[in-house]
Structures are given as structure tokens and as C-alpha cells.
Amino acid sequence: MSRAIDPAVRATRMPLAARLSPDQRRVLLSYLILLAVYAGCVAVNREFLSWGTMRLQLVQATFIGIIAIGQTCAVLIGQIDLSVPWTITLSAILGTNLAALYGQQWVAFAVVGAIGLAVGLVNAFGVFALRVHSLIWTLAVNLLLQGITLLYSNAAAPTTHVPPIARFLALGNPAGLPMAFLVWVFCSALAILALSLLPFGRQVYAIGNRPAAALLSGVRLGRIHAIVFVVSALGAAFVGLLLSGYSSQAYLGMGNEYLLPPIAAVVIGGTRLSGGEGGYVGSIAGALVVVLLQAMLVTLAVSEGAREVIFGTILLALCFLFLRRAR
């Protein structure tokens, strides 16, 4: 209907919200949520106005944001990746150990690449070739990875030999900007370009909207599934390396906090869990929202239980206000 209106007329007469496509409107909404949450943070604690505090939040948001790249792609093709936590932990422990063993920093990156590729391909194999629901398949893979990590580490004490490059990527501060944030900006730019300009992006949306139609139009379904899950696993493995640099150690269970917050970030960012609608631009706001909420609750002097209740309630309220399904 709105197509029939002359664009010039539309631009002048209609309010901003009506001029945007539904996708753009949802992205705008996620940034409005971000503004509201930030305002709430500042109202609770003036510390959030200081660059020092915000820099910490940006680093935290980097971890969630980089995982959210793969998760956004997975959700866009109508899937989900729940193997993230132990991909993080395995990559951190194996990467730091082997890098220390061989005395070479690049070994850690080789481990990240190998784990990302292996986990991603196993995920894609189960989800695409065997048609197992990704919710349960990636969960089983997560369990397997947990087992592998436990067997490998034999429940040893945390490794503290972290490659300096990991520490620099997570904690470095060139030109007053946190290095981790720069890494995130770089990865985000790649993700947004890939999703909006490359054929890959169009094929991802095509699969999410209607897999059968995508297949008939010549989309290589298997290849796209493989790429998406490898991107997700690579992101998780890389975050594992960053986290080991951030806390100067790699320990069992370090990835457990990173299962659901990135998914919450994707959802707040306006990507539909049913697939085919949304994008990474919104997920960036989503990652910041989740991190700011967590940080704000830490500054409140309440018990851990109350903090969880408040976090759940705010998240629920955000979903209720902005993310209701049609109908």
C-alpha cells in the first residue's frame, strides 16, 4: 500500500516511524531500548557517565557481541547454537595450554581456527544432514565438548600461561580505546557487510524465510548451514581466547555465562527467532543492553537472588513492550 505513495510525498507527510521498513523500525526500536536502559543505568548510578566505567562495559559487550554474530546468523536461518559455552572453554584451555607448550603465540589462533571449524561442521552436519533440531543437537554437542574438555584438562588447576597477544586483544588500550572494542567493531563491520551486501547474506535470509523456495532458487543449503555454524563456533572459540586474556587464566566453566545472554542480545536486537527477519545491527544494541543491565544490577546493593529476579523482570518487560509476535 505504501508503495503506491510517491516517495517524495511520503518523506514529507508521514511520521518517521511510518517511513521506515519493518526491519528498520525494529533496529530503531532496539537502539531506543538501549537509550532507555542507559538512562536507567545513569539514574541508578552516576558512575555510568564516566568513560572508565563505560570502557569496562564495552569490553564485556565485546564478548557477547562477537558470539552474537554467529548466533544472529544461526537465528536468521531459523536455527540456534547452544554449543557456545564449552566451545569457549575448550578453545581457551586448549589454546593457552598448547601455546604455552610450544612457546608460540600463533598456536592459540590455530587452535581457535581448528575448534571453530570442527565444532561448526559437526553442528551443521547434525542440523542439516541429519535434520535434528538445532536446539537439541547443539546441546548434545555442547555436552560432548564439556566431556572432551574435562577429559583433556583432567580437572587440573586453571592455566595461567596466557599468550600475551590474547591479553593485548582483551585488555590492550591503544589510543585510549579498549582493544577488545576495536576488535568488535572490526568483526561487526565484517558481519554487517556480509549479511547486507554479499550473496551469502541474501541466501541466509532466503533460507530463513522459506527453505524450500531457497532450495529451488539454487541456494546451496548445506554450504550456508556449514558457513553459519562455523562462523558461530569460530566466534565462540575466539571469545574463549579473549576471555582467557581478559582474566589471565583459562578455567573450567568459564563459558557458562555466555549461553543465553548473546541469544537475549539477538532477540532484543529485533531478529525473529523464527528466522528470516532481522540483522546484526540490532544485535549490537542488544549486546550493550544485556551488558548494561547486568552491570547496573551489580551496582545495586541487593542479594544475588533479587538481582536475578530484577534481571528477568526487566528482560521480560522489554520483550513484552517491544518483541511481541504478530497476532
Binding site: 547434525g126 535434528v132 560432548l144 523464527s274 544475588e304 538481582r307 528477568g312 528482560l315
Partner: protein, 330 residues
């Protein structure tokens, strides 16, 4: 020659029971292997202990199945179990009257928590995955407020009544059977059960046919909450205390047990025996690993591998399909 529809229908019938059947076979094999290594397991005490380690998961999985049948998903089951477990362990006292009233209150709380989920998902129109994820924080946080660290207690009589055995018959199995007979069977004997399956099978047609989609979804989450409450009470009896982290594993394991038992995550397909047998298989494998002196480190690896194998086997029927298009249209 039978008409093709009859063949189709027969295959559908076989597929419906493939999950429970393979779980039943797996269960027999498992118990057999277990008995070779540890013959005492076939004694009344041994069987009761096997039942006791499995029943909580079975109850959670049956609740999860009710929601999965409507094409929903409940990620708050573990948190519901935790909250009710903490509530029961802190308030039960020791008199018969207080025990009875806390049991009733726990069941009501289970229904209420489920109703909250149902309101969020069905009336609030929030995706089940994210909606029940949010409520799980609220429930688990409330449990931490009630009971910040493991503690509380339940009277010995209450514990014995749920975890003891009468000859070869463990009370925990009686509890599970009672829960199924008093909740599942009446529900699926009524219109509600048919609506649940119909909505899971095809939500859009169900809505157009005028089924009360929202009310049915609400009911399924409430029933899941009820099963969580029974599981929580059983866990309180088994550990004779409350623990604010007790429920964590049940969310995802209930999902795994349901899928092992042949319940479809897309809704509309599943039986009650499937998730129960799936839970027993899953719990007994984990329990057996400990008995066989397999290092605890192997447990997750083996559980993950078994899950992947079982799920993957189900996927091999895809290889028989004529083309990917046929697969995608299923």
C-alpha cells in the same frame, strides 16, 4: 493391496512408537548389562534406587512433553523445580498437617508458575524460548531469596513415603504412575488433550478452526508446572533438604529425555511413555557410569555421544527421502 493411505497411516503409527520402543529395548539392555556387573541391582533395593535416580527427571520430562506437544518450549522447568524444592524444604515443618498443607501449596505454586509462563507466552505473545528464559531468572532468583544456600529439611516420614519400597515396588514408581494416571490420562482422555495435539500439529489451522489456542497453551504450561512441583517434592524427599541449584540440570535433560523418547520439538507428536523411558535410559546410563568406576570426567562425554548417536539415527530416514524438497516439506 492396501490403499496407500492405510500404509501411510500404519507407518505413522510405527513412527509414533519408535521412540518409546527403542527406549524400552535400550532400557532392558542397560539393566541387563548393569546386572551382569552388579547383580544386586535386581534386588528390591537396587530397583528402588534405579527408580529413585530416574523419577524426578521422568516427571520433568513428562511436563516438558506437554508443552512440546503444543509446539511450545519450557526453559523454566529447572527453575520451577528449584523454587518449589526450596519452598517445600523451608516450610514443611514436621506435623502431618503442615506436611499436607505444604504439599498442596507446592502443587498450587507449580500451577501458578506454569500459569505465569502461559500468560507470558500465550497471552503476552512472547516466543516460548525467550519468554520462559526470562521467567526462569525470576523463579531461580526467588529460590535464592528463599534459601540462599542448601539447607532446610523435610520430615523422615515424608522422605520414606516417597523414596521407600514395598517389596519389589518402589514408592517413587507409584508416585510417577499416579501422576500419569491422575493428570496425563484424564487430560488426554478429554477434549483438552486433543486440542493440545491439534495445536502443536498446526497452530494456524487450529486457530482458524476456532480452537481456544491461548487457553490450551496456558493449560499446557500450567500442567508442566504441576509436574515440576511433583518432581520438586520428590527431590526434597530424596535429598531430605532444599538446594537452590538442584533444578539446573532438569531443564535441558528433560528436553533431551523427551526427544530420546520420540517427542517432536516441532509439536503435535509424542507419547507419555517415550519421555518416561527416555528419562530412565538417560538417568541409568549416568548412574551406571559411577557404579562401573568410570571416571566422572567421562560422564558428559558419553552422555553427549549417546544423545548425538540416538538423534542421528533418527535422522537417517532422511537419506531415504526422494529429494531435499520432500524433506523440507515434511
Amino acid at each position: 493391496m492396501k490403499p496407500p493411505e492405510a500404509k501411510e497411516r500404519r507407518r505413522g503409527g510405527v513412527e509414533k512408537h519408535a521412540g518409546p520402543l527403542s527406549c524400552a529395548v535400550g532400557l532392558v539392555v542397560l539393566i541387563g548389562l548393569y546386572a551382569i556387573r552388579q547383580p544386586l541391582i535386581l534386588s528390591p533395593f537396587g530397583l528402588a534406587s534405579l527408580a529413585n535416580v530416574s523419577v524426578a527427571l521422568a516427571l520433568a520430562a513428562v511436563g516438558q512433553t506437554l508443552v512440546l506437544l503444543t509446539a511450545g518450549l519450557d526453559l523454566s522447568i529447572g527453575a520451577e523445580i528449584t523454587l518449589i524444592n526450596c519452598f517445600a524444604a523451608t516450610t514443611m515443618g514436621s506435623s502431618a498437617l503442615s506436611v499436607a498443607s505444604v504439599v498442596v501449596a507446592s502443587l498450587v505454586i507449580g500451577l501458578a508458575l506454569g500459569a505465569f509462563n502461559g500468560l507470558v507466552v500465550a497471552y503476552g505473545r512472547i516466543e516460548p524460548l525467550i519468554g520462559t528464559f526470562c521467567t526462569s531468572f525470576i523463579f531461580a532468583g526467588s529460590a535464592l531469596i528463599i534459601l540462599p544456600r542448601p539447607g532446610g529439611s523435610v520430615p523422615d516420614g515424608f522422605a520414606a513415603a516417597l523414596t521407600g519400597n514395598w517389596g519389589p515396588l518402589p514408592f517413587s514408581l507409584v508416585l510417577l504412575a499416579a501422576a500419569v494416571l491422575l493428570v496425563w490420562v484424564p487430560v488426554f482422555g478429554s477434549r483438552l488433550g486433543r486440542y493440545i495435539t491439534a495445536i502443536g500439529d498446526d497452530p494456524e489451522s487450529a486457530r482458524i478452526s476456532g480452537l481456544p489456542v491461548r487457553r490450551v497453551a496456558l493449560a499446557s504450561y500450567m500442567l508442566a508446572g504441576l509436574f515440576s512441583a511433583i518432581a520438586a517434592l520428590f527431590l526434597a524427599a530424596e535429598t531430605t533438604s532444599g538446594d537452590p541449584s538442584i533444578g539446573g540440570i532438569y531443564t535441558l535433560n528433560s528436553l533431551a529425555a523427551a526427544v530420546l523418547g520420540g517427542v517432536s520439538l516441532m509439536g503435535g507428536r509424542g507419547t507419555v511413555m517415550g519421555p518416561i523411558l527416555g528419562s530412565f535410559v538417560l538417568s541409568i546410563i549416568l548412574n551406571a557410569l559411577g557404579v562401573f568406576n568410570v571416571s566422572a570426567f567421562w560422564q558428559d562425554f558419553i552422555e553427549g555421544l549417546i544423545l548425538m548417536l540416538v538423534l542421528g539415527l533418527g535422522g537417517f530416514r532422511v537419506l531415504r527421502a526422494a529429494s531435499w524438497l520432500a524433506v523440507l516439506r515434511q
